[in-house]
């Protein structure tokens, strides 16, 4: 089976079937990334489309220094960020410092599927820089160094964003019941 890099090379030489094969290999994963970043299937489909159009038009810019999939993820995440910037629905919020961690009893409350918020809703509650790190590391299971390359940041930054993204996500889950935190604390007291 030809590698992604070989398929891209074939496409650049005029083999359109190679491009179709590249798409078939990656379209679901790219769509999944875009959906988790953008929160809507329509927007995710648009971003996926834009991502592959970029590959189609700018495939020659792939230098071969990283894996093709790393480059593709980078194109996709940049496309998602462009979409987010354009619609200005999920503007980057300042990193909340000193946020109180969630109630430690929160985890048990979400063992019931019925109580779980939709994961897209939960992801949309955290700033996009943290969201992308959490999606790449914890959902897609990519290695830290690959995520660092995709996002163009040091590995330490990926770790920090993932850590803080998880913390904010847990906080969101803790507040999900719709009960003000102080009231919930009072209930637990």
């Amino acid at each position: 089976m030809p590698s992604d890099e070989e398929l891209l090379s074939g496409f650049l030489k005029g083999d359109h079937a190679a491009f179709d094969e590249l798409m078939a290999r990656h379209e679901d994963r790219i769509f999944g990334l875009c959906l988790r970043m953008l929160g809507s299937r329509d927007d995710a489909l648009d971003a996926t489309q834009d991502t592959f159009l970029t590959v189609y038009r700018k495939g020659r810019q792939y230098s071969g220094r990283s894996k093709f999939s790393t480059w593709l993820y980078r194109v996709a995440i940049n496309t998602c960020h462009d979409h987010l910037r354009k619609r200005k629905r999920h503007e980057t919020m300042p990193i909340p410092e000193g946020t109180d961690p969630p109630d430690s009893s929160v985890g048990d409350q979400f063992d019931s599927v019925e109580l779980r918020p939709d994961i897209l809703t939960a992801l949309s509650s955290i700033p996009q820089e943290f969201r992308s790190a959490v999606v790449f590391v914890d959902i897609d299971g990519l290695a830290l160094d690959e995520v660092a390359e995709i996002l163009g940041v040091p590995i330490g930054t990926v770790k920090s964003r993932t850590y803080r993204g998880r913390r904010l996500l847990a906080e969101f889950l803790g507040n999900f019941r719709g009960m003000p935190e102080h009231q919930r604390d009072e209930d637990h007291a």
């Binding site: 005029g14 379209e27 679901d28 999944g32 159009l53 914890d138 959902i139 998880r166």
Partner: protein, 233 residues
């Protein structure tokens, strides 16, 4: 006083992720247990991780996949003349047939793209012999990436579309259609001047007009139908 929490987030994350074992794990757990903030953070990391790890793979629906493929289907990169080869072949065949049916250079009328009429069909193809690209370009610019029009219709079809594109370039309508716009944009990096509904061999189509070319798409499916260069004839 610095706590473990101030400078060892990696360790908390490693415990939450299950990345430590044996003595390392026991030591880290002991340190975390001694720090209330660390303990809360560890619980938060575990809660989020447990939640995220239950995320299921996402796949496109068949409709979404079809939409994606239609939108991203590779644009033709072959040379224009290569794409038009079947049309040229048909045109040459037409000339040959005309030569057979009308011996001695009999007369037939063939409408050329620019609207010129040639009285002698043999002028189209050097008496049915091989034609140079220059001869081809001066007589035929129709392309048919889908259904091949019949011979006379084929030779005459570029004329109204070329004229329409020219007209739209000079007088863009105020309310241009945006149907297929993404598809059209994907074909060319430049923005179109305008767009308009047109009739394409009896099929409703939309034409996007660019400074040096025009693109025609099927109105219902946005499938790419034809490219008409501005320097056509």
């Amino acid at each position: 006083m610095k706590t473990m929490h101030d400078h060892d987030l990696d360790r908390i994350a490693a415990v939450a992720e299950g990345g430590l074992s044996g003595q390392d794990l026991a030591a880290a757990q002991a340190e975390i247990a001694a720090c209330a903030e660390c303990s809360r953070d560890l619980q938060a990391q575990r809660t989020a991780l447990a939640y995220l790890r239950q995320s299921r793979p996402i796949t496109l629906t068949s409709i979404e996949r079809a939409r994606l493929h239609r939108a991203v289907h590779p644009a033709p990169t072959r040379s224009r003349w290569l794409r038009l080869a079947p049309v040229f072949a048909a045109a040459v065949a037409l000339v040959v047939v005309a030569g057979v049916l009308l011996p001695n250079g009999g007369t037939t009328r063939t409408l050329l793209p620019e609207g010129k009429n040639l009285e002698n069909s043999q002028e189209l193809g050097s008496a049915g012999g091989a034609r140079t690209p220059a001869e081809i370009s001066s007589t035929t610019a129709a392309s048919a990436t889908t259904a091949m029009p019949t011979s006379d219709a084929m030779l005459s079809s570029p004329s109204p579309l070329f004229a329409k594109a020219d007209e739209l370039r000079q007088n863009p309508p105020a309310n241009a259609t945006t149907l297929c716009h993404d598809e059209a944009r994907s074909r060319l990096d430049e923005e179109s001047i305008t767009a308009s509904d047109v009739d394409y061999n009896g099929t409703p189509a939309v034409m996007y007009v660019y400074p040096k070319t025009a693109l025609i798409f099927d109105q219902e499916t946005c499938a790419f139908l034809e490219e008409i260069p501005a320097d056509n004839p």
